[in-house]
């Protein structure tokens, strides 16, 4: 089988991989901000809930989480499709790691900034939204970008719960054709190409976040 014949099924898989990545990165970002802000600035109960979520998902294997959601959860009640399961597990995972990035960047904003905001009579919530987060956001973008790329690569694990992503198609093709070298080489290249696109998007986002903030930090 030639490279051109291998490409269509691999591209079909890459499309699923891209969809998984976009959906789970987006939902994961929402979770990361919610849990990170909650753990960094919330009341005692809110902090505890956020900490439990973050530590459970950081402390267990993504593959086992996928298996648990796909095979164990239906036995306890709700059954969700493989794609939804994949998005859910990936989102919860990147959300947990991202939450620590968000929390760390919030805590890194200097105490002097909080004091200046108190002296100007900003409320707690106003301090967070007007003073702290706008300063924390540019600092958290590079590590969040890393997590997004990590997330893209982690999507390969969903092939284990029957989702026909890029890795799934690659394994299928290899079983059919035994063209191991071209198949896995093409697969690597496709992941790499998607990672490049994702990194470019994250850099664009990073620049966008800095606009309206202080000019070039020298």
């Amino acid at each position: 089988m030639t490279g051109t014949a291998l490409l269509p099924p691999l591209l079909a898989g890459a499309k699923i991989t891209a969809e998984l990545t976009i959906a789970s990165t987006f939902i994961g970002a929402v979770l990361a901000f919610a849990a990170g802000i909650a753990r960094g600035t919330g009341g005692r109960l809110i902090r505890l809930i956020a900490a439990v979520y973050i530590e459970i998902f950081r402390g267990t294997s993504l593959l086992v989480q996928l298996f648990w959601l796909y095979y164990a959860l239906p036995l306890l009640g709700p059954s969700i499709g493989p794609f939804t399961t994949g998005v859910l597990a990936l989102s919860l995972n990147i959300g947990a790691y991202g939450a620590e990035v968000v929390r760390g960047s919030i805590l890194a904003v200097a105490r002097a900034q909080h004091e200046a905001a108190i002296a100007l009579n900003f409320s707690r919530r106003q301090r967070l939204w007007h003073i702290v987060l706008p300063q924390a956001l540019p600092e958290m973008m590079p590590p969040l970008g890393n997590l997004a790329v990590q997330n893209l690569k982690d999507t390969s694990l969903v092939s284990m719960i029957t989702i026909a992503d890029l890795t799934f198609h690659a394994q299928n093709l290899r079983n059919l054709t035994l063209d191991t070298v071209p198949i896995y080489s093409l697969t690597l290249l496709l992941y790499f190409a998607m990672a490049l696109i994702l990194m470019a998007c994250m850099r664009g986002l990073e620049r966008w976040v800095r606009i309206g903030g202080s000019p070039a930090r020298s």
Binding site: A112, Q113, E115, A116, I118, A119, L120, N121, F122, S123, R124, Q126, H130, I131, P134, Q135, G212, G213, S214, P215, R217, S218
Partner: protein, 264 residues
């Protein structure tokens, strides 16, 4: 200088500790409306802590504080300040503070640094807030820097913006916590100039923590010499700074008095 009976600021038997360290020791202190008070004394003597307590940046362990007749603690109040968020908001609305390190918001332009709190906290329209900010920038001599960012300013300019920012909230009491200590010597004058101008405001009560003795003498109605969490000696600068009675004050002021005698 003062024409009222009731003090605007009143500390009664206040004790403040950081762990085992006693920073204010059964401290009593009153300031009248419109009075300009300089707090001087060695580092760690509690002068800055007085300002930070007034700004509700520090809690106290014992005693009472009143501002404009409002006690800092509410009966049955919760939290480290024994007061609700609403009560703290009420107190903070009367006080403005200028910090040694300027503490401008680096992600905002000079103009936005000044308009943000009036818009967000006081609910002024953007236009009103901008007008108010431009007047203040004019006053501190930085109207041409409205669109600059803090990183593009010198230390003296930053501190002048910080003063304008605090004034934009129209506080009744202004606290200056070593406002020129972080500045290069050649930039001290421009900041002192602005503070000197404010000292002419009849109704504005000012507390100034400073190591600049000459400046303290110049603008203060009263000088308070702090040592070990208490006021050791206080009075008009012409008395305390020229002819101090207490030995600790004499020792502290010795270099300044020597300079004066030498005519420096």
């Amino acid at each position: 200088m003062t024409d009222t009976q009731d003090p605007i600021i009143k500390f009664s038997d206040v004790t403040k500790r950081f762990g085992d360290l006693v920073v204010l020791d059964h401290f009593d202190f009153e300031v009248n409306l419109g009075e300009k008070v300089a707090l001087i004394g060695p580092s760690g003597s509690g002068k800055s802590t007085v300002l930070r307590i007034l700004m509700t940046l520090e809690t106290i362990q014992e005693g009472q504080i009143e501002l404009d007749g409002i006690p800092y603690r509410e009966p049955g109040g919760h939290g480290p300040f024994h007061a609700s968020a609403k009560h703290l908001h009420n107190i903070r609305s009367r006080v403005g503070m200028v910090f040694q390190g300027f503490n401008l918001f680096p992600h905002m332009s000079v103009l936005r640094n000044i308009t943000e709190a009036p818009v967000v906290v006081l609910g002024l329209s953007k236009r009103e807030a901008k007008e108010r900010a431009m007047q203040l920038l004019e006053m501190v001599g930085l109207a041409d820097k409205a669109d600059a960012f803090p990183t593009q300013l010198s230390g003296g300019q930053k501190q002048r913006v910080a003063i304008a920012r605090a004034l934009a909230m129209r506080p009744r009491v202004m606290l200056f916590d070593e406002p020129t200590s972080a500045l290069d010597p050649e930039l001290v004058g421009e900041v002192q100039e602005v503070i000197r101008g404010l000292a002419h405001e009849h109704d504005l009560t000012m507390l100034l923590v400073t190591h600049e003795m000459r400046f303290a003498r110049e603008i203060a109605d009263r000088v308070c010499f702090f040592d070990k969490g208490r006021i050791v000696e206080q009075g008009p600068p012409a008395e305390v700074m020229v002819n101090p009675q207490e030995e600790r004050t004499q020792n502290f002021l010795a270099p300044y008095l020597a300079d004066r005698q030498a005519g420096v």
